[in-house]
């Protein structure tokens, strides 16, 4: 099967393309990108006034399978992904049971093979049961197919364990993507520390809980000579530490979530439990710092930290509500609205952040670009489409989003995964 995407504005930062061109897909691969391609045997997709880009790669997603299929499954999560232009996701290992041994990796791979409609890459746990004590069989996990390791939701509390894990990751040519939070500091906190928390009388999670571990993990990575990818960076101090580390030549990359550059802790007023997320929504100053870091290259990746939770886990007191919000379906429009429309970054940079850089970090050489011979994972975007995010239209199995009812801008109109049309508006 061949597809010819005609007259779209192609954005392909790897090949420095930013112009109206045609894209020819042949089977599961991209055949070529050029002006005015003729291909009689191809089905034509008109992309006039549309942006054509390599499919988005979201490297921080909770698909909840196995164990919490009530919240999300590989099938529902990847369906939500392709409807939003995301062709590849990394799924986090805090499932029940945790993905902490090669057998679980294989079992999950089997589920993915059977049910996924997008590419799914598995992130394994760093330690057994994600409890920070005993390091997993890194070699076995890597062989079974994990792309990275993370105890997401927890930090590895013991620095010696973390250092060992970093060394093993390096030895096995993989990397860690730590969730940085000192739970002795964030304690029973439920939101960012500051005026709003004081106003609302809610227990606070000081920024220190995050940046102290960011600092520690970077130092440990330096010591181990290992690669490190910091998950969901949310505050100014963490960013300053990462910026300096990069300058010093330490092999660190970092991601930020759309909610951390779109929302401040003021959204918590009214006690909407959908605003409860870890790391918490921060102050205006932090949001501005995250945006700046996205534009200056300190942040390499935008990832959603899509964290589905059931109604019964959110329709409770703020203190008792689960941390997390869904994000697959809002990630791209929030980036358009907060980064492109504000002239903070270019479309080139956006595709770097949401496709090329994740592919590089994950070592997915055939993804993240439209180079001839690459995987035919492509998104066609209507950049100016305005739409209201309605609860009944949410594709994810869970509906925990603070953006419900909001008008968003930018949407995928066609998503192609492996040369097949996975979504068409």
């Amino acid at each position: 099967m061949k597809y010819l995407i005609k007259n779209g504005h192609v954005i392909d930062p790897k090949n420095k393309i930013d112009a109206v061109m045609d894209v020819l897909i042949s089977g599961v691969k991209i055949e070529k990108v050029a002006k005015s391609i003729e291909a009689k045997d191809a089905e034509v997709i008109d992309a006039k006034d549309r942006i054509v880009a390599p499919g988005l790669i979201d490297m921080h997603v909770h698909l909840r399978e196995p164990g919490r299929e009530d919240k999300e499954t590989v099938a529902t999560g990847t369906h939500a992904a392709v409807c939003s232009g995301v062709t590849s996701v990394c799924c986090m290992p805090n499932t029940e049971p945790a993905i902490d041994n090669p057998k679980e990796v294989k079992a999950l791979k089997d589920i993915i093979k059977r049910t996924a409609v997008a590419n799914v890459f598995i992130v394994g746990a760093i330690t057994k049961d994600r409890d920070g004590k005993k390091i997993v069989d890194v070699e076995g996990m890597k062989k079974a197919g994990v792309v990275a390791l993370s105890d997401d939701g927890n930090s590895v509390e013991d620095p010696e364990v973390m250092l060992k894990a970093l060394k093993q990751a390096k030895k096995n040519s993989t990397f860690l993507m730590p969730h940085c939070e000192d739970k002795k500091i964030s304690d029973k906190g439920v939101m960012n520390e500051g005026i709003i928390a004081t106003k609302l009388g809610l227990r606070a999670m000081p920024k220190k809980a995050e940046y102290e571990i960011v600092k520690r993990d970077i130092e440990l990575a330096k010591k181990a000579g290992a690669r490190l990818h910091i998950a969901h960076v949310s505050c100014k101090e963490s960013i300053d530490i990462i910026r300096k580390a990069k300058k010093d030549g330490i092999k660190v990359t970092a991601e930020a979530t759309p909610h951390h550059f779109s929302l401040t802790d003021e959204c918590v007023a009214g006690y909407d439990t959908n605003t409860k997320v870890d790391p918490p929504l921060r102050s205006r100053e932090d949001v501005d710092a995250v945006k700046k870091a996205i534009s200056d290259g300190t942040i390499d990746v935008i990832a959603s930290d899509h964290a589905p939770h059931g109604k019964h886990e959110k329709d409770v007191e703020y203190d008792y509500a689960a941390f997390g919000m869904i994000g697959l379906e809002t990630s791209f429009p929030l980036a358009v609205m907060n980064l492109i429309d504000t002239k903070l970054i270019s479309w080139q940079r956006l595709v770097e952040l949401m496709s090329l850089n994740p592919a590089k970090i994950l070592g997915l050489g055939s993804k993240g670009s439209l180079s001839a011979g690459s995987d035919a994972d492509i998104v066609i975007i209507d950049p100016s489409k305005q739409w209201v995010y309605k609860e009944q239209d949410i594709k994810s199995k869970s509906k925990n989003s603070p953006f419900i009812g909001k008008t968003l801008k930018g949407a995928a109109v066609v998503t192609i995964v492996g040369g097949k049309i996975a979504y068409k508006a």
Binding site: A197, T198, G201, Y271, V316, E317, Y318, Y320
Partner: protein
């Protein structure tokens, strides 16, 4: 004040969201109800046939009793439900409990909860009026209203008064509600506590912050002394009750530098010899028992207003 200003809220959730005029309406209405409480028969039929439920997730004798009496003096039927916090996690959710209470045809749910914001969550899921009787560290609106009512009836005004709130500001809903109410009505508020008990960003509330008790007392027309709760885990900064009393306890001696007419308030229950000495609590400057009496009139006013909110209640 325009006579026809109407109450439009279904609920009373906090002071922060109220306008100056709304606070004044409650205070003026409470004035009328105070007269009722002095009658031979201290009961009027305004809430006859209505059902008021006290839903308490925290033990409280004083606030619950005050609300119960207020509701009974308005001829409402009152039910008390005490929920064991320890059983909350396994038991039904707040929203389910609220809906069940509503299915009993309750008109008003008075809720006390250990979690900040719980009354907001409840109010969104029931049609009944919700009155916040204290939520976590967040607000205790009727306590602030009765404090302000007491101040106003003793000193004749609120505007321009200097009021100092002394004690564990960080964990006090009474402090927050008082700060909102007093500043909206034009009082100058000072909060006084050891540094660890002053929460971040306090100055942005439009109050003066001090760690010096004598300074807090010196200029004040009234002081509101908060209950010090040593059972809290995070008050470890002060090793002993005695040490706190020495530094921040309000005593006759500390009041020597105060204005002659200074009023001493306390939301109760009092820890004698911790935040306040027995002599001050029982002394001529203390209006602590008047606060308790005024609490009934204020709560009657609140119950009357929320149950008779004008059409299109919000």
């Amino acid at each position: 004040m325009p006579e026809k200003l109407a109450w439009k809220r279904k609920d009373l959730l906090g002071i922060e969201e109220l306008s100056k005029e709304e606070i004044e309406l409650i205070l003026n209405t409470a004035d009328s109800f105070k007269e009722v409480t002095t009658r031979r028969i201290k009961k009027v039929p305004a809430l006859r046939g209505k059902t008021v439920v006290n839903l308490f997730y925290e033990p409280s004798t004083r606030t619950r009793t005050s609300f119960e009496l207020a509701a009974k003096r308005l001829s409402a039927d009152v039910i008390n439900i005490a929920v064991e916090v320890s059983s909350v996690k396994k038991g039904e959710t707040l929203i389910d409990t609220g809906r069940n209470i509503e299915a009993l045809m309750a008109d008003v749910i008075i809720v006390r909860h250990n979690c900040s914001g719980a009354p907001y969550i409840l109010s969104k899921s029931v049609k009944a009026s919700v009155v916040n009787a204290g939520d976590g560290w967040h607000e205790h609106p009727t306590q602030a209203l009765l404090d302000i009512f007491t101040l106003k009836s003793k000193l004749g005004r609120i505007k321009g008064l200097k009021v100092s709130i002394i004690g564990d500001i960080a964990h006090s809903r009474v402090a927050r509600s008082n700060i909102w109410g007093l500043t909206k009505l034009g009082a100058q508020v000072t909060v006084c506590a050891p540094p660890v008990l002053i929460p971040p960003g306090m100055e942005s509330f439009g109050v003066k912050v001090t760690n010096d008790l004598d300074e807090a007392i010196r200029e004040a027309d009234a002081i509101n002394v908060l209950r010090m709760q040593f059972e809290r885990d995070n008050v470890s900064a002060f090793p002993s009750r005695m040490e706190y009393f020495k530094a921040y306890g309000v005593t006759e001696d500390r009041l020597k530098g105060a204005k002659k007419h200074i009023l001493v308030m306390h939301p109760g229950p009092i820890n004698r010899g911790v935040e306040i000495s027995a002599e001050v609590a029982d002394g001529p400057k203390s209006v602590i028992l008047e606060q308790v009496t005024n609490g009934i009139a204020v709560r009657m006013a609140v119950l009357y207003l929320v149950t008779h909110a004008q059409g299109g209640a919000i």
